[in-house]
Structure formats: structure tokens, C-alpha cells
């Protein structure tokens, strides 16, 4: 009995000792980052951007995700940039340019004083090297397919770059190609470049220089203090991936990161009332649409797929356009963060955007929709509340595909299904993965789907997705998807497309671009649903000086350019000092208290164990 008693008491003592040790370890851990922070100079200002997709590669020829392009932007310069106000071409590495009378020969003056991060000067030869590498490289072209129209690019001296185009083109100033240092990249062969990581000692000329990359963890860059456009005010820039939107949000609230974007409405609304955080619903160049299978065919015209034949009829598509309540989608799917859409070039590109005049658009009106369908001969002849086609009597039952990855896509589809029921059209909503949907669309095996596009400042790419040549093609017996997802094919549209592609005068080109959008609006291969906002938020207690693009109303980060990165700094020197003290001090105190408590507990336990042993 006595033996057991002693054993159990000792065990209790041991357990207390263990608990005290655990406490001590936790305290040491808690104190650790504080100690780490104190070693660094107090003034060092780091800007941490939380991202939801990891950077796939730091090699500008390999990376695919938008986050990677953001990093290339801060590491390298373009020849010509995009203005902060309205995306118009502005000098970057090229300080000026001229174009010959025939619109074919472009001469760029490269600025003097720009330096690579290893100290060598940036010259026209580096630019010529980069362009030629892309023009001659198969692999290199995949990421930068802008060089098709180039006949030659040469550096006549260190500051003069001459480009000769095959056709006059307005996109000559829109080639977003990072200029690379020839003295580094010439040693990387065509084979090596396919796996070159560019993650150590990367040499660039941009406002930030790569310091360190840990896959899946972060990319860290330091400010280029001798950047030609002026040194950034922050000292360090970190991109940190989060695989979980909740964790990203919590990290922003806690201050582990300073910036988050692509937030959902609910967390965004909660951030609006959080002290120290500024939340901005920024205009974003993206739109969503309800797309139709307007008659799937290959680029050769050979029909493919199994789309419903009724959707080839423009009048039916127009009736559906009247039956989609865009404002309701904005209010209920986007919770107000967006606006009803019209032209395929979003409203923030003011000069290029098309919107029909009052009363000329497809206003939401189920009566009008029903009337249009009656007129076109789609009537419900068998009383099942679903209309049938005039000849053959095939009922208007459509498959509508929504994306599994997107709650908004599925919600929109359900709304649309409801409205179409009211005009006698039956909809079968099918939710599939985006990957799978790409396949389905490419094969033409759909009637309708809900998806969207993000539109570049230059309209060429977006407009090209509606040309006959962008339809699926056959290679080696298999049908492969191309850019067109509505299989719209209209020779009149294609003609305008060719025309805008060689029109250099911005005003004349804008007119053509608007005419093309009007054509698309009326032919309705898409029912344009909404333009959505990018919901962004940042720690305004730590950083100030974010600038929107376009100005006003645009995004603060993930722009075409590095404006915010170069402009932000601490709200004031005083505030920065205050902040540093207040965040570190409580931690130090807590750490100290816990360490003391743990040490005390340890001491008491030891003492007690000792007295027990003595007693026995």
C-alpha cells in the first residue's frame, strides 16, 4: 500500500514537471519570433502580399499563373508600359519611339542609366536579344505569342532598337515581354531553358531584385535602390501563398500579410469594419457570360458536336437575352460588387467599351421574350409548358453547364434556369469541373454554359475569340479546342477584325472595335451577364500610397505595371515606429511571464519532489 502510494505521488510530481517543461518550451517558442524581429534593423519595411496560387516558376518562359507574371513585372521591365490612368502606352525601358510613314518600321530609343542588378547597363542589344530569342524559339513563344507580326528586331547601337513589322499593327506597343539580360540568358540553351528555374541570383532591371524563393512557401525580393524610375519606398516585397481562403483572411486580420485580393463578398464586408484595414471593391477587367452553342463546327466549317439546332437561330438567343435579369445577378450573385454587362470589352476600358443606347439593349422583360418566341414560331403545341421548334417539333430543352469550382457560376445557372422556365424553355443544369468543361466546349457537346473572360488592355485577343478561325480544329484525327467557345462565325465580323488589327490610329480603331461589339451584342453568341469587381483589402495602418489602375476606381495591385509597389510606404515614420513597438511589446511581456511562471512551477515541483523523498 505504502509502495503504491509513493509511486503514484511521484508520478504526479513527474507529470507536473512535464507540464512545466511543456510550458517552458511553448514560452520559448512564443518568444522566438520576437527575438528574431529584434535582430533586424527596426526601419526595414516589408510588404507581404497574400496570394491564393503559388508561383509556378520564376522563369518568364515557364510560368503560367497570373501570380508569376506579377513577379516577372517587378523583376523585369517591359519596353513600353501601360499608364496608371488609362492603360495607354507609356515609356518604360524605351523612353520614346517613332513609326515610319508606312507604319512598318518602329524605332525605339532605349533609356540610358537603366542597370541590371549585377551592375551592367541595360542596352538596346538586350531588348533585341530577348525579342529574337522569342521569335526563333518554339518554346519561348508559348508564353509570348506577340511576335508573329515581326519581320526583324535589331539594335543599331546601344540605345536604338529597330523593329520591322510585316503589317502595320496597333499591338506593336502592346508586347508585354520582359526584357532579359543577354549576358545571362545567352548561356542558357534552347533545351536548358525548358527547365531553367531562374531562382538563384536572377539578374533583372525591375524595381525589385529576387532574394530567395521557397517553393510552396514564399518568394522574397528586395528593393532595387538604384531603379531608374526611383527607388521603391519599401525595403522588401514578399509573395506568400495560402491554400485556404479562411487562413488568408485571418492572416490579413492578424497582420501577417499586408494585402489580399480576390476576396469573397462576405469576408470582404467584414473587413470593411475592421480597424487598420482598408477594403476596396475595385473595377476589374473581367466579365461573365451565358454562352450559346451557335452551331459547333471546325475551322474548316465541318459540323461537330451535338448542340441543340434551335440555338443557331439568332431570334431565339435574343429572346433569351431579354429573359436574363442582369441586375438581379449583380445584386444576388455578386452581392452588388459588379455591374450589368453589355459589350465584351469591359466598361473600365472607356475608349473601347460599347453599350447600347437607352431602350436599344436587351432589357429584362419576360413579356418581350415570350412575344419574340411566339413570333419566331416557337410554340408549346402539346401543353407541357415547354415550347417546341416550328418544324419537327423538337422541344426547347437545353443543357446548361456551370463550373464546379465556382459557386457564382452555379448560382447564376439556377437563376437563368428559373427565368427561362417562365418563357417556356426547359433547362437542365449540369455542374462539371472547369477542365472537363473546356473539353466539352471544344467538342461542341453543349447547348449553353456559364463562364467568363479577363480582358487585356488591347482588345485584339478578346475579339479574336469570336472569329471563324478560332473554332476548334482537327489534328491527327482528334478534335482540339481553340479559343472560340460559342463557335460564332460571321464573315462581316472577321473582316472588321482584320481591319482593327492593322489600324494604328486609336480613335479609328476604337470605332471599329465598338462596331464589332455591337455586332456581337445583336447576334448574341453570348448573353453578357456582368462585369465583376476585384475585392481587395490592405493594412492601411502599416502602408499607404496605393494607386489604382485605371484611375479612379481600378485595382490597387495585380495591375499592368508596378505603380503601387513603387509608391507605397509606411503612413508616417512615427506611426511605423509606434506600430513596431506595440506589436512586439505584448509578445515579449507574455513570453517573459510564461517563462517565469514555468520556471517557478518547475522549481516548486522539484522542491516538492525533494521533500517527499526526504520524508520517506
Amino acid at each position: 500500500m505504502v509502495g503504491t502510494g509513493k509511486a503514484s505521488r511521484n508520478r504526479k510530481a513527474r507529470r507536473l514537471e512535464a507540464a512545466a517543461l511543456t510550458l517552458a518550451v511553448i514560452a520559448a517558442l512564443a518568444a522566438a519570433p520576437v527575438a528574431g524581429a529584434q535582430e533586424q534593423p527596426a526601419q526595414k519595411l516589408t510588404f507581404t502580399v497574400g496570394i491564393t496560387t503559388d508561383i509556378d516558376s520564376l522563369n518568364p518562359f515557364i510560368g503560367i499563373v497570373a501570380e508569376s507574371y506579377e513577379v516577372y513585372q517587378v523583376m523585369y521591365d517591359y519596353l513600353v508600359g501601360y499608364s496608371q490612368k488609362d492603360f495607354s502606352p507609356v515609356p518604360e525601358l524605351a523612353e520614346s519611339w517613332t513609326v515610319s510613314q508606312d507604319g512598318l518600321t518602329w524605332t525605339f530609343k532605349i533609356r540610358q542609366g537603366a542597370k541590371w542588378s549585377d551592375g551592367q547597363p541595360v542596352t538596346a542589344r538586350d531588348a533585341a536579344y530577348t525579342f529574337n530569342r522569342i521569335m526563333k524559339g518554339t518554346f519561348e513563344q508559348t508564353n509570348y505569342p506577340y511576335t508573329d507580326n515581326l519581320k526583324s528586331v535589331t539594335a543599331t547601337d546601344d540605345t536604338t532598337l529597330v523593329m520591322v513589322a510585316k503589317k502595320p499593327s496597333p499591338t506593336m506597343l502592346r508586347m508585354a515581354i520582359p526584357i532579359l539580360p543577354e549576358h545571362i540568358w545567352k548561356d542558357i540553351s534552347a533545351k536548358e531553358v525548358e527547365t531553367f528555374e531562374n531562382d538563384k541570383n536572377a539578374v533583372g532591371s525591375g524595381p525589385f531584385i529576387l532574394e530567395e524563393r521557397k517553393t510552396g512557401q514564399f518568394v522574397r525580393l528586395r528593393a532595387n535602390k538604384s531603379y531608374w524610375a526611383g527607388a521603391p519606398k519599401i525595403d522588401e516585397l514578399v509573395f506568400r501563398p495560402f491554400n485556404n481562403a479562411d487562413a488568408l483572411l485571418q492572416a490579413l486580420k492578424k497582420g501577417e500579410i499586408d494585402f489580399a485580393d480576390d476576396l469573397d463578398p462576405a469576408p470582404f464586408n467584414s473587413l470593411k469594419n475592421t480597424p487598420g484595414i482598408t477594403a476596396v471593391a475595385a473595377d476589374y477587367p473581367g466579365f461573365n457570360e451565358l454562352a450559346f452553342n451557335t452551331g459547333a463546327a471546325l475551322d474548316t466549317g465541318e459540323p461537330i458536336g451535338d448542340g441543340h439546332p434551335a440555338l443557331k437561330d439568332k431570334r431565339l438567343r435574343q429572346a433569351i437575352a431579354h429573359a436574363v435579369d442582369r441586375q438581379a445577378l449583380v445584386d444576388r450573385v455578386l452581392q452588388g460588387y459588379g455591374s450589368p454587362a453589355t459589350g465584351v470589352i469591359p466598361a473600365l476600358y472607356k475608349d473601347l467599351h460599347f453599350a447600347p443606347g437607352d431602350g436599344q439593349g436587351f432589357d429584362f422583360n419576360l413579356g418581350t421574350a415570350n412575344q419574340l418566341l411566339d413570333q419566331a414560331g416557337y410554340r408549346d403545341t402539346n401543353g407541357d409548358n415547354v415550347r417546341e421548334m416550328p418544324n419537327g417539333g423538337r422541344p426547347l430543352r437545353f443543357r446548361l453547364f456551370a463550373r464546379q469550382e465556382s459557386g457564382e457560376s452555379q448560382q447564376s445557372a439556377q437563376f437563368i434556369k428559373g427565368w427561362l422556365r417562365d418563357i417556356g424553355i426547359a433547362v437542365d443544369v449540369r455542374v462539371v469541373e472547369a477542365n472537363r468543361l473546356t473539353e466539352i466546349i471544344g467538342q461542341g457537346e453543349f447547348d449553353m454554359f456559364e463562364w467568363g473572360w479577363v480582358v487585356e488592355p488591347d482588345p485584339n485577343y478578346q475579339l479574336s475569340t469570336f472569329t471563324c478561325g478560332s473554332r476548334s480544329y482537327k489534328s491527327g484525327g482528334t478534335i482540339t479546342a481553340n479559343l472560340s467557345d460559342s463557335f460564332y462565325c460571321n464573315p462581316a465580323y472577321d473582316k472588321l477584325y482584320e481591319q482593327q488589327a492593322v489600324t494604328i490610329d486609336p480613335a479609328r480603331r476604337a470605332q471599329i472595335v465598338k462596331d464589332m461589339q455591337r455586332m456581337l451584342y445583336e447576334d448574341a453568341p453570348y448573353v453578357m451577364t456582368y462585369y465583376y469587381d476585384d475585392l481587395q483589402a490592405y493594412r492601411s495602418d502599416r502602408l499607404a500610397g496605393f494607386v489604382p489602375q485605371p484611375d479612379p476606381g481600378g485595382v490597387l495591385l495585380f495591375q499592368y505595371g508596378t505603380y503601387s509597389y513603387r509608391n507605397i510606404g509606411s503612413p508616417s515614420q512615427l506611426a511605423a515606429a509606434d506600430d513596431g513597438g506595440s506589436s512586439a511589446l505584448p509578445l515579449v511581456l507574455i513570453g517573459a511571464v510564461v517563462v517565469l511562471a514555468a520556471a517557478g512551477a518547475l522549481l516548486v515541483v522539484r522542491r516538492r519532489a525533494a521533500t517527499q523523498d526526504e520524508r520517506e
Binding site: 509502495g3 503504491t4 509511486a7 511553448i26 517558442l29 512564443a30 522566438a32 519570433p33 528574431g36 516589408t46 503559388d54 509556378d56 516558376s57 522563369n59 515557364i62 503560367i64 518554346f139 508559348t142 505569342p145 508573329d148 525548358e194 527547365t195 528555374e197 532574394e211 530567395e212 521557397k214 517553393t215 510552396g216 512557401q217 514564399f218 522574397r220 522588401e236 514578399v238 506568400r240 495560402f242 491554400n243 485556404n244 479562411d246 487562413a247 485571418q250 492572416a251 492578424k254 501577417e256 469541373e433 477542365n435 472537363r436 473546356t438 473539353e439 471544344g442 485577343y461 479574336s464 489534328s475 491527327g476 482540339t480 479546342a481 481553340n482 479559343l483 505584448p586 509578445l587 507574455i590
Partner: protein
């Protein structure tokens, strides 16, 4: 004479049995190899197209990408190349990262083994302790409380527990400050070779490790408790007590070793899953491990990377099973003879 013959016979039988197990393992691996290849070819999505998605890439470029990955060749040829390369240790080039699959995996295996390995060991130790104490003092306050807690933890979704802990200890609730980082494995800019670097990783490790330990330990506690309870009614324990052995000794020398067998199986099965990581927890805490990697690979889809990680996961489980079989026969003589 007779004993010698019996002994040599026993030896060959054991050899044959071990040989059989190993052969079975190799066959399983071969099956996984074949299955892997075809499984990932029936997934939807054309990788060449996905990699060039949303960019103005001419058809010829897409063809070039497809060609460079060997996707243009007929299936049997692709399969032959796959088997040949895998056997020579070449797992191919990741579509997404454009780096050798073995490199990409090697980078992620450390974080996963650290997180899941440590959590598994901790949960085994704590879980077994709780199970043994609970069964020994069946119906006690400790037993009732630990049983309730174990059942609750066992039923709780891991990611939910993770998010709760993240909010409570990562961000802080009320007067409680956020002591631990909300995600990642290290603070950018920390020197990993220094003591501060080690502590920094420990800080980042704490929450995901705590979550996984809590999530795993319930299983061990419950299995250990019930198998020990089964033993408690056995006659040999009465005998042991009758011999005058103390309670603690009866438990340690007699009851626990016999009750450990089912737990051993469980431990080894779970050890096999250590490398495959914990997808949900790695996702919640953005822990750069293999679970997260396989999730990312699936969304591209990155066939070579997927094949690589699945091969690794399968191999780990198969090896752990073989080890469990061998150890089992050592622990329990009945398996050897029977």
C-alpha cells in the same frame, strides 16, 4: 535428429513465408505502376491545352508542347517509355513546374514527414497512454472524460478542428493573443541554419501538428482501450495477480503486450500514410508538403507528378504493410506457426 529436421523445416517455411510476402509486395508495386499510367490517362483535361489556356497560343505551339511531353505518341509507346524511365529512377518532368518530378517531390517530402511523422508519433504515445489508463481504470472519471473526448475528436472533421485552432491560437480570441503563425513553414528571410530558424519552423509547426495529433490520437486511444479491455477478463491475468504481482507489473508485463497487437497493425498501416501527408491540414495551414503537392498536381492535371506521388504513396503503404507482417510474426508466435 528429429528436432534438427523440424528446426530446418521451420526455417525454410519462415523463409518461404517472408519470400512470399516480398513477392506479393513487388507484384502489388508492379500493379500500381500499370494502374497509375492508365488511371491518369482517363482523367478529363488535355494538359497541353490546359497549360496554354487563356492565352493566344497558335495551334502549332500547342502541338509543340504536346510533342515535348511525348503526348503525341501512341499509348503503348508512351507506356513502354514510362516503365523504362520509372525503373531507372527517372519519374519524368513535371508539366507544371517544368522540373524533374523527383526533385519536386524531394523538396516536399521533408515538411510532410516532419509534420505527419511527428504528429503520428505524438498521437501514438499519447493515444496509447490514454487508452491504457482508461481501460485499466474503467469507469473512472479519467476514463469517462477521455472516452468522451476521444469520440468527439474522432468524429470531428480535421479541417474544422484546424480552422478552430487557427483562429484561437493563430489569430487570437478575446484576451488571447495570436501566438502562432497562421500558415506556412517559415518566416521569409529567416536564416534556416540558425537557432532562430529552427525555432521559427517549430512555431509554424505547432498548430498543424497539434491539430493532427488531436485528430489521430483518438483512434489509438479507442483501439488500445478496447483491446486492453478484452484482455482484462482473461484468466492469465488472474493467475498473474494470484502470483502476487503488483498491479502496475500485471499491466505492463502481461496485459499491455497482448493488447498491443491490434494497435501495432494500426500503427504500421498509419506509418505507411505518413508520406502521403494530410491534404486537408496541409491546405488549412498552407504547409508545403506532399498532400498539398498532390492536390495541386491533380488540378493541372500534371500526369508525371501525379504518377510520381501516387507511386511513392503506394510504395510507402506496401512497405509498411510488409514490415507490419514481419513484425507481427515476431510479436505473436501464433502467426509464425499458423
Amino acid at each position: 535428429m528429429a528436432t534438427a529436421a523440424a528446426r530446418s523445416f521451420g526455417l525454410t517455411a519462415a523463409h518461404r513465408r517472408i519470400g512470399g510476402k516480398l513477392l506479393g509486395a513487388v507484384l502489388s508495386l508492379a500493379f500500381v505502376l500499370v494502374f497509375n499510367f492508365f488511371l491518369f490517362r482517363v482523367l478529363p483535361g488535355d494538359p497541353a491545352k490546359n497549360l496554354t489556356r487563356n492565352r493566344l497560343v497558335p495551334a502549332e505551339q500547342v502541338e509543340a508542347v504536346r510533342e515535348s511531353f511525348g503526348l503525341g505518341k501512341p499509348l503503348p509507346q508512351q507506356f513502354a517509355a514510362y516503365v523504362r524511365d520509372t525503373l531507372s529512377g527517372d519519374l519524368g518532368i513535371s508539366y507544371k513546374y517544368r522540373r524533374p518530378v523527383s526533385d519536386v517531390i524531394a523538396e516536399r517530402i521533408g515538411p510532410t514527414v516532419l509534420l505527419v511523422g511527428l504528429s503520428t508519433i505524438l498521437s501514438i504515445i499519447i493515444g496509447l497512454y490514454i487508452g491504457i489508463r482508461g481501460a485499466w481504470g474503467r469507469g473512472s472519471v479519467f476514463d469517462r472524460m477521455s472516452l468522451g473526448a476521444s469520440l468527439a475528436l474522432y468524429a470531428m472533421p480535421e479541417f474544422w478542428l484546424g480552422i478552430l485552432l487557427l483562429i484561437a491560437f493563430g489569430v487570437g480570441v478575446g484576451p488571447l493573443p495570436g501566438l502562432f503563425p497562421t500558415g506556412g513553414m517559415s518566416t521569409p528571410g529567416t536564416d534556416m541554419s540558425s537557432l532562430a530558424g529552427v525555432l521559427d519552423v517549430a512555431m509554424h509547426l505547432f498548430l498543424p501538428c497539434l491539430t493532427l495529433t488531436l485528430a489521430y490520437l483518438a483512434e489509438y486511444a479507442l483501439v488500445m482501450r478496447s483491446s486492453l479491455l478484452d484482455e482484462l477478463g482473461e484468466d492469465y491475468l488472474v493467475t498473474a495477480r494470484a502470483k502476487g504481482l503488483r498491479d502496475a507489473l500485471v499491466l505492463r508485463r502481461h496485459a499491455v503486450p497482448n493488447a498491443l497487437l491490434p494497435t501495432t497493425t494500426l500503427i504500421f498501416l498509419n506509418l505507411g500514410f505518413v508520406v502521403s501527408g494530410a491534404i486537408t491540414i496541409e491546405t488549412v495551414f498552407s504547409w508545403p508538403g506532399l498532400g498539398l503537392l498532390s492536390y495541386e498536381a491533380l488540378s493541372t492535371p500534371d500526369y508525371p507528378l501525379l504518377q510520381g506521388v501516387f507511386l511513392l504513396f503506394s510504395a510507402a503503404v506496401i512497405v509498411a504493410n510488409v514490415l507490419a507482417d514481419l513484425l507481427y510474426s515476431y510479436l505473436d508466435p501464433r502467426v509464425r506457426t499458423g
